[in-house]
């Protein structure tokens, strides 16, 4: 057995099957649990069978609910919109971070502030957010921005700082303007790395999105999960969780493709 050998060379078949193994174990464990629970209590709602899960997904995706809406569609649109606006603000964070990293006066004014700002647990200041921004869309976006943007700002700042001074001096001596140095040389150089950071923070964005939607909303993926919890509709909640994960995976994939296509020079 070469299981514990650092120089093991798994076969092609092992390469195909082994990655699936943990998934299969989880799914089988789930199916068995559901079966055992339903044998004991046929009306069990906590661990729905796969049939009930599919039915729950079908009902939320393809059937009108009591309000005459296709829930999954309405919720996905509402949440995607919030997600997109939140992420757009993260790009604003990139600009702020770049300016802080490049312009010493901006650095002096903002660096300490963002360093502190970054440490505020956004969920702890929810009541303040609601009083300032109300319960509408603004507060949900604000939660995402306050929660994630400082990280992006600081990451961009550090990456801009790390660009060798020689390059900047060289550009200036070749008669580049200060704006050109920032936006034509430093920004393109650090941008793919910054994109990676944004991509890795999607999880945090989604977390804050769901937190915001659980507190006050009329639609949204997080909203639905918290409302149907009131009647233990796990047959809706589990498909929603899988759907959210899938959408997050798609968003992540999109950025990865963007980086790979646009920045072919990266890591070479």
């Amino acid at each position: 057995m070469s299981l514990f050998k650092v120089n093991a060379k798994p076969s092609i078949n092992a390469g195909r099957i082994l990655p699936l193994l943990p998934f299969i174990i989880c799914i089988v464990a789930y199916i068995i649990t559901a079966q055992v629970r339903h044998d004991e209590n046929p009306k069990d709602k906590l661990v729905p069978t796969s049939k009930q899960l599919i039915d729950g997904f079908r009902r939320s995706a393809f059937e009108e609910d009591r309000k005459g809406e296709y829930r999954l569609l309405v919720d996905t649109i509402a949440s995607t919109k919030r997600f997109a606006i939140g992420v757009a603000f993260l790009f604003l964070g990139v600009i702020i971070g770049l300016n802080m990293g490049m312009l010493p006066y901006f650095d002096l004014v903002f660096y300490k502030f963002f360093l502190f700002f970054d440490k505020i647990p956004a969920l702890a200041i929810l009541p303040i957010l609601f009083i300032v921004f109300g319960l509408g869309e603004v507060s949900k976006i604000a939660l995402i921005v306050i929660g994630v943007m400082p990280t992006i700002v600081l990451d961009t700042y550090l990456r801009a700082k790390a660009v060798p001074r020689e390059q900047i001096t060289k550009a200036l001596t070749l008669d580049a303007s200060h704006l050109e140095v920032m936006y034509r040389i430093v920004l393109p150089k650090i941008f793919p790395k910054v994109l990676e950071t944004i991509r890795l923070n999607f999880k945090a964005v989604i977390l804050f999105l769901i937190a915001g939607e659980s507190l006050a909303a009329t639609a949204g993926l997080g909203y639905r999960i918290f409302v149907v919890r009131r009647y233990i509709a796990m047959d809706i909640i589990i498909p929603y969780v899988i759907w959210i994960s899938f959408l997050a995976f798609l968003a992540d994939l999109a950025v990865r493709i963007w980086i790979r296509k646009k920045y072919t020079w990266m890591d070479k």
Partner: protein, 358 residues
């Protein structure tokens, strides 16, 4: 290699033996242990007092059992009950029907503690009346008793729920959110939040649960199987509860002392707690609770509740009719599916308390 391997096996066996012995010892030596969950609400604070004052332990000892009382948030406590992590839990008749009973957890209402008699209310700004709510956004916790209260208020005024916009708002933020947002016209919530919001200027109460008395019942429920096998658990809980009720209904310092402990764990002052009790119709004497549980009236009220639950999909989205879950009353009559009785009103334990037989 080999000797080490044997040592490992011997070690594992010894460990297993020690662990199984200790578990066996547990079940063998100690009295049966039960878990009950409670959450903060004017009508349920007495449970905390029963625990803190040792009254609950006294009654548990009398029946040679152990009862652990845990404080939880409301919805998680019911989820724990449905997942069988606790044996008994406080909840309203509505949640008892649409959460455990609708999930196939056979549930018995052991103690009817009180009904909401003003604790749940529809509050508005700028003299907005019920008729003006059409097209307005209303803050509330969707599918909770607040939602039920609003539906009843609209129904009584021949209005349709579909004409208002419900904003699902977490109960932890609903009061500050409504107070801070001067443009928001209406909110539906419960005490102590109602009291807090009413302290702000320009807010009026346009409907409350005193207009639908006896519909929102606050219960202590037990899983029917657990209760059948261990009636002493039910007896201990009931005994402890009515001993506390006795203390509360006395006048003077004994009652005040008990109630200030209840107020403290609810995070309010004694005066505020007493004000909340005014809008809580407590059944201080078991006789009153027995009579209401045995009455025809409770069946009519439960009919409103189950209708609401069915119409909002709370009995399961695939439920075919309002009769999906059967409800059994002390006189043996059954409301709904007789083959699917999962919610039982049992007045026998309260009757024992009334007769002094505990």
């Amino acid at each position: 290699m080999k000797p080490k391997f044997y040592r490992y096996i011997i070690f594992t066996l010894v460990l297993a033996a020690v662990m199984s012995l200790s578990f066996a010892g547990n079940t063998w030596a100690k009295p049966k242990k039960f878990k009950a969950a409670w959450s903060i609400y004017a009508g349920w604070q007495p449970w905390d007092y029963a625990n803190q004052s040792g009254i609950l332990k006294k009654w548990a000892d009398k029946y040679n059992i152990e009862i652990e009382l845990v404080r939880m948030d409301y919805i998680p406590s019911i989820e724990a009950y449905v997942a069988k992590k606790v044996d008994a839990c406080v909840m309203t008749n509505m949640e008892a029907l649409d959460m455990p009973a609708a999930s196939g957890i056979n549930t018995t209402a052991l103690i009817l503690g009180d009904f909401s008699n003003g604790n749940d209310a529809v509050l508005t700004r700028d003299n907005t009346g019920i008729k003006d709510l059409n097209g307005e956004e209303i803050y509330l916790v969707e599918l909770s008793v607040s939602h039920y209260l609003l539906a009843r208020a609209l129904e009584m005024n021949n209005m349709d729920e579909r004409n208002v916009i419900l904003v699902n708002t977490s109960d932890s933020d609903i009061a500050p959110a409504f107070i801070a947002n001067g443009n928001q016209k209406a909110v539906v919530t419960w005490n102590p939040l109602v009291m807090q919001i009413l302290q702000e200027p320009g807010i009026s109460k346009i409907f409350d649960s005193s207009k639908i008395p006896g519909e929102i019942l606050d219960l202590m429920v037990v899983r029917t199987g657990v209760l059948k096998e261990n009636p002493e658990f039910g007896k201990a809980l009931t005994g402890a509860w009515y001993e506390v009720m006795d203390i509360m209904s006395q006048r003077g310092s004994t009652a005040d002392e008990a109630m200030s402990i209840m107020a403290e764990s609810a995070g309010c002052s004694l005066t505020e707690y007493k004000m909340q009790l005014k809008t809580t119709a407590m059944f201080y004497k078991p006789q009153g609770a027995v009579e209401y549980t045995n009455s025809e009236e409770i069946k009519q009220k439960m009919n409103y509740v189950r209708k609401f639950c069915f119409e909002h999909g709370l009995l399961g989205e695939n439920a075919r009719s309002v009769d999906e879950v059967g409800i059994k009353y002390p006189d043996g009559s059954i409301q709904g599916d007789t083959n699917n009785v999962y919610f039982i009103f049992d007045s026998s334990f309260m009757k024992m308390a009334a007769d002094g037989k505990l």
